[in-house]
């Protein structure tokens, strides 16, 4: 059974095209990642899927319901965490979660088991105003509020943007736990390293899906051998590599430079490594200038 079916969805704002012919499916209970930089069209796609805006073309079905015709049904079964913090800053933690429970005709007590792992971490601060929480805590509260009505499908639009690496790791652990409870999760992120935590991912750039598959399969599809080079002076090394006609691409990765060669027989004993999603993403995307 498919939880989500997206079929040839396109959307433009004025003359600018935001999404071009997007199609994909998500299985029930799957953790699906939409990965790409800011401005790639992730939020537009999420808003179409959550019935907030209408696509120009194409159709979206969630649990068999159409986002246009059956939007009222869909609004009962999805949970949504928008890209920017969308809780009431002047209400306390408790007031926020109670309100969102009431919005869905339920109570905090009724579905407490679902949010317990997450909410218990912010429970000591229940009387604090949501606006006075730290980034990580806001994120936990927002997730609790999106979950409190026991949604079947959960949409998280860039939940980890601007959050430090520790909180990000925690957050992904929470998502894994939710997945075990049978909730289908669709999440977007600009951080390529988070890709491997999803069952399947779509790489999105400039409004287009460049590829969809499991992270492992995408890495396997990397068409070239990838070499890693080190130097104390990376800038210098980079300049040398750019002059080298045999070097096809060269991208810095922390303390090393990842290189692909035109003629792989002349690899000069470079160290071969396994590509990452980021390598694959850059391979697929056209440089901006």
């Amino acid at each position: 059974m498919k939880s989500l079916i997206v079929n040839n969805v396109s959307k433009s704002y004025k003359r600018k095209s935001a999404l071009k012919d997007i199609s994909f499916e998500v299985e029930k209970g799957e953790l699906f990642g939409v990965i790409g930089p800011d401005g790639a069209g992730k939020s537009t796609l999420f808003r179409i899927m959550t019935t907030l805006i209408l696509a120009d073309k194409g159709e979206v079905k969630i649990e068999g319901y159409d986002v246009v015709k059956d939007y009222k049904k869909i609004r009962n079964i999805v949970g949504y965490m928008p890209g920017r913090f969308s809780l009431y800053q002047d209400l306390t933690v408790r007031e926020n979660i109670e309100f969102f429970a009431a919005v869905f005709n339920t109570t905090v007590e009724e579905n407490y088991h679902l949010v317990k792992d997450i909410y218990s971490q912010i429970e000591p601060f229940e009387k604090r105003k949501a606006g006075a929480l730290s980034g990580g805590m806001k994120q936990k509260l927002a997730l609790s509020c999106a979950l409190i009505h026991k949604p079947e499908v959960l949409f998280l639009d860039e939940p980890t943007t601007g959050v430090d690496p520790i909180s990000r790791k925690e957050f992904w652990n929470m998502l894994k736990n939710l997945q075990e409870k049978g909730i289908t999760i669709i999440v977007s992120t600009p951080y390529m390293d988070e890709a491997t935590l999803c069952n399947r991912i779509a790489l999105i750039n400039e409004g287009e899906f460049m590829d969809i598959n499991t992270p492992q399969e995408l890495i396997r599809k990397f068409p070239k051998k990838l070499y890693s080079l080190n130097s104390d002076n990376l800038l210098n090394l980079m300049n040398i590599l750019r002059e080298d006609p045999n070097v096809e691409t060269s991208f810095s990765f922390g303390h090393s430079i990842h290189v692909t060669l035109n003629d792989e027989t002349k690899h000069n004993g470079y160290q071969e490594i396994e590509p990452s999603i980021e390598d694959y993403f850059m391979r697929l995307s056209k440089p901006q200038n």
Partner: protein
């Protein structure tokens, strides 16, 4: 509908937590009432007056002397003919002229009754009326003296001639006007930013992606301002009745009822602005500039509608505050029965329903 309560609770929390706004909302009506009230009814001293004494005898002379002695008046001009009066007003040399006609003493002594003509600049009707009252009482005092040694009581009827504003509305006119103004200011302006604020802060996304019905959002959004405005109206009544001694002649329940209907009009208008605006600033421009300004100028708050050019009079009919102020003046100051304000009530009810329906229709189910 059990869902409605948490929504209303949330809206009240928003309003109550915003302490500063709350203070302004509650204190503003009082400040405005006092400002309007005292700016208008403050005691008047040292008004320049002129006298045209055609009677020229003891009685007129004694009255003029008393007037001169009074702290309220300074005698600036002694005219010799009627023709001199008008130019003197034009040059703002005097604010009031007392005229004793040729037969004044004669009438008084023989008929026991005479007319004293008082000409006043009524561009400010309140001042004019106060001045006229002073003059009348001074004249009455002079007569009392005369009557002491006269067996036949004599009487002076002041004959009032008002320039520039012959209708001379009551000095209490400003109370309904301030009420109308404050309700529009607070209800319409405050409501106009509530839904937009959720749009701006992104919280509307969370509400839209939920089974919440627009009507729930709308009713809950209106409720705190409805309550606050009722408090405001009551405050205005208390201030005007107890502090400023404005009479409330009509039935208090009818007055309350009409005020409630007007509140609904103001709220639904605010709602309408909130549903069309994209930002709080835009909403404030709609309610503050595009709406509040014509309301102030055209609803009869400041200027009488009868003296406006026809096309402005036509626009004035569309101002909700016009109907409210009309009804209130009739009810509070003239003390008429409910049936005389039926037309106003009907118009206001129609407006409330129309604006409410349009906002519901325009409320977007999506972003």
């Amino acid at each position: 509908m059990k869902k409605l309560f948490p929504f209303i609770k949330k809206e009240f929390l928003h309003v109550l937590r915003d302490t500063w706004t709350m203070m302004i909302i509650l204190v503003l009506p009082v400040v405005m009432m006092l400002l309007f009230g005292y700016a208008v009814t403050n005691e008047i001293r040292d008004t320049n007056i002129g006298v045209l004494d055609l009677s020229k005898d003891n009685i007129s002379a004694s009255i003029i002397e008393r007037v001169q002695q009074s702290e309220y008046f300074t005698l600036k001009h002694n005219y010799n003919s009627y023709h001199e009066i008008e130019p003197s007003f034009r040059k703002s040399e005097v604010g009031l002229v007392v005229v004793f006609d040729e037969d004044f003493s004669n009438n008084l002594l023989h008929k026991g009754k005479a007319e004293l003509q008082i000409v006043a600049d009524a561009t400010d009707p309140n001042t004019a009326k106060t001045l006229v009252n002073y003059i009348s009482s001074i004249a009455a005092q002079s007569l009392m003296e005369l009557n002491k040694n006269n067996p036949k009581p004599m009487q002076i009827t002041p004959e009032l001639k008002l320039l520039y504003n012959p209708l001379m509305k009551s000095s209490y006119n400003f109370v309904p006007a301030v009420m109308g103004f404050i309700v529009i200011l607070i209800c319409t302006m405050m409501t106009s930013i509530t839904i937009v604020r959720e749009k701006e802060r992104g919280t509307i996304e969370m509400l839209l992606v939920s089974p919440t019905k627009p009507i729930m959002i709308i009713i809950s959004k209106l409720s705190p301002f409805f309550v606050v405005s009722i408090i405001n109206i009551i405050t205005i009544f208390l201030v005007s009745y107890f502090i400023m001694n404005v009479p409330v002649l009509g039935n208090i329940f009818v007055i309350g009822g009409v005020s409630l209907i007007f509140l609904l009009v103001a709220l639904s208008l605010g709602l309408l602005f909130s549903t069309i605006a994209h930002s709080q600033l835009e909403a404030l421009l709609y309610s503050g500039m595009i709406f509040l300004m014509p309301t102030t100028l055209l609803s009869g708050m400041l200027f009488p509608i009868e003296s406006m050019p026809l096309f402005l009079q036509a626009i004035a009919q569309a101002m909700p505050a016009k109907w409210f102020i009309d009804a209130m003046r009739k009810l509070m100051i003239m003390g008429v029965d409910a049936k005389y304000v039926l037309k106003e009530v009907l118009v206001l009810t129609f407006m409330a329903i129309t604006f409410m329906t349009i906002s519901l229709k325009l409320f977007k189910k999506r972003l």
